[in-house]
Amino acid sequence: MLERVHIGGPMPLLPRRALANRYHFEALDAGRLETRWCRGCERFSFPPQNRCRHCGGRDVLWREMPAEGVLFAQTTMHAVADGFRAHAPLHIGVIDLSCEVRLLAWLLETPIALDTPVRLCALHFDDGTLIGAKELT
């Protein structure tokens, strides 16, 4: 389970909970990082979709990804779009998971040196969840 971090208020920008990805967002709300995993080539596809991004296979299952990775890149954004002002400056990291998945997260601690191991967490808003990351201690 991902550590739950309360942020509260509305998400700055709501993702669409579509047929192909709704389960991912529901799982994230419940503290699990799930995406599609291909039975054919045994690899993860993130963002989740019904077709494996590696082999094109359609036999894909929902599966939980590891919640630990390393920080590949980061920025602190001072100029942000309207909905994000309450959360500025935004500390954003590119995280590489060991399961060949790269994703974005809001960094809860800065600065974090690149290549440092990080642990993902669930940032809870009133209407959804974003992925966060902290230095792995």
């Binding site: 920008l13 920025t75 001072h78 942000v80 779009a81 790269r102 974005l104 690149l114």
Partner: protein
């Protein structure tokens, strides 16, 4: 014979967009009519000779939609080949040029225009950012984190500085030398000299990039006239080749990889040089699309002008500047000439044309070949053209 650039004209990049409710203002189409007439006169052709017009799609703040049809009617153009507005992220201007060249090469038109007006300097920043974050990210999985177009380059910068062992000070040299070139370019927006300290002390925008590492807001209007090779003067500028690349990613990709290695840029330039039959060493003008200081560094390395992880240091040593051995972006680039984003690819062609016609004044490079390179996303796509003097 290869199609030629018969002529070109442009507004100096700057701030032209009237404020909301302005009276007595000059809007996009009036600016573009002036530029059109200058370009046609330069090319020695008449409005009646124009068979195709490829325009960059206008930004959302343009009130007049259906802009190209509207503009053609105001200009008295009766195209018999094509009127087309194109949109392809940062490659928009280069794509308009590419398609105008195609109209001539395919025999559809004797004369084709690549044209565009871009007014956004007075648009509310919040509006621009709201559309920007939707254009340069997966709206459900990336935009929701708030990344703006330039913040992707900031992520690149953090990684590059880490891997190269460089600092913001070396990146700042890109901004400084861009202004040095721009000071010699009457079409440039940012012509005042700045120092490394100015760049380092400017307010942070998207760390590690500050205000002078990122582009100002820019307006512009430009027209490039493309024609059949046999219509051109002996010393005209020929379009010798083009190349395209796509790295398969949207911004950062979904699989761990080195996102500071711009493989699409390398592929596009390599394919363009091959198509042109020109060796890289014979190119003396490089106009590389680079909205931020880091982007020029990465593009320079990607196309092989300097070794990996050396371009920032080389820039700090002056090697890519006006007196350097590897001059890059003699127009001043996005940080000097300015960055009316949809038109940047066309302003690059304008610089290549000026350089090869020997009209570049104090920034003139002595060369027979020029390369332009535009990009979309985080250099996910790249489109290159190679130019040469026909004579």
């Amino acid at each position: 014979m290869k199609p030629c650039v018969l002529g070109a004209a442009a507004l100096p990049v700057g701030s032209y967009m009237p404020g909301e409710g302005a009276t007595g203002a000059v809007y996009e189409h009036e600016r573009l009519l002036d530029v059109l007439d200058m370009a046609l006169a330069e090319a020695g052709v008449a409005v009646a000779d124009v068979g195709a017009v490829i325009a960059t799609q206008n930004v959302p703040t343009t009130r007049q939609l259906g802009f190209l049809s509207f503009f053609a009617s105001r200009a008295g153009i009766r195209a018999d080949a094509n009127l087309l507005e194109v949109s392809a992220l940062g490659t928009t201007g280069a794509t308009a040029f590419d398609l105008a060249v195609n109209e001539v090469a395919l025999g559809h038109a004797n004369v084709a225009l690549a044209i565009g007006a871009h007014f956004e300097s007075q648009a509310p920043l919040a509006e621009a950012m709201a559309s920007g974050i939707r254009a340069v990210g997966d709206v459900d999985f990336q935009s929701v984190y708030g990344l703006s177009p330039i913040s992707w380059y900031a992520l690149d910068a953090s990684r590059y500085l880490h891997d190269a062992g460089a600092s913001r000070r070396e990146l700042a040299a890109v901004a400084v030398k861009s202004r040095q070139f721009a000071a010699c370019n009457p079409h440039a927006q940012m012509r005042a000299a700045i120092t490394i300290e100015d760049v380092l002390q400017a307010p942070p925008i998207v760390e590690p990039l500050g205000l002078l590492d990122v582009p100002a807001r820019s307006d512009g209007a430009i027209c490039v006239v493309v024609g059949r090779g046999d219509m051109a003067a002996a010393d005209a500028v020929s379009v010798l080749g083009r190349g395209y690349g796509h790295d398969g990613h949207h911004q950062m990709g979904a699989i761990p990889h080195d996102m500071t290695d711009l493989v699409a840029a390398r592929a596009a330039v390599s394919r363009a040089l091959d198509a042109a039959g020109v060796a890289q060493a014979d190119v003396g003008v490089w106009e590389l699309y680079a909205p931020c200081s880091i982007t020029e560094v990465l593009a320079v390395e990607a196309v092989g002008l300097l070794p990996r992880h050396q371009a920032a240091f080389a820039t700090a040593e002056g090697r890519t500047g006006p007196d350097g051995d590897v001059p890059v972006n003699p127009s001043g680039g996005c940080l000097g000439r300015g960055h009316p984003s949809n038109l940047t690819g066309l302003y690059q062609v304008f610089e290549a044309w000026q350089q090869l016609r020997g009209r570049a004044g104090a920034r003139q490079q002595s060369t027979a070949h020029a390369v332009t390179l535009a990009e979309g996303g985080n250099y996910n796509t790249a489109l290159a053209h190679v130019f040469g003097r026909a004579g």
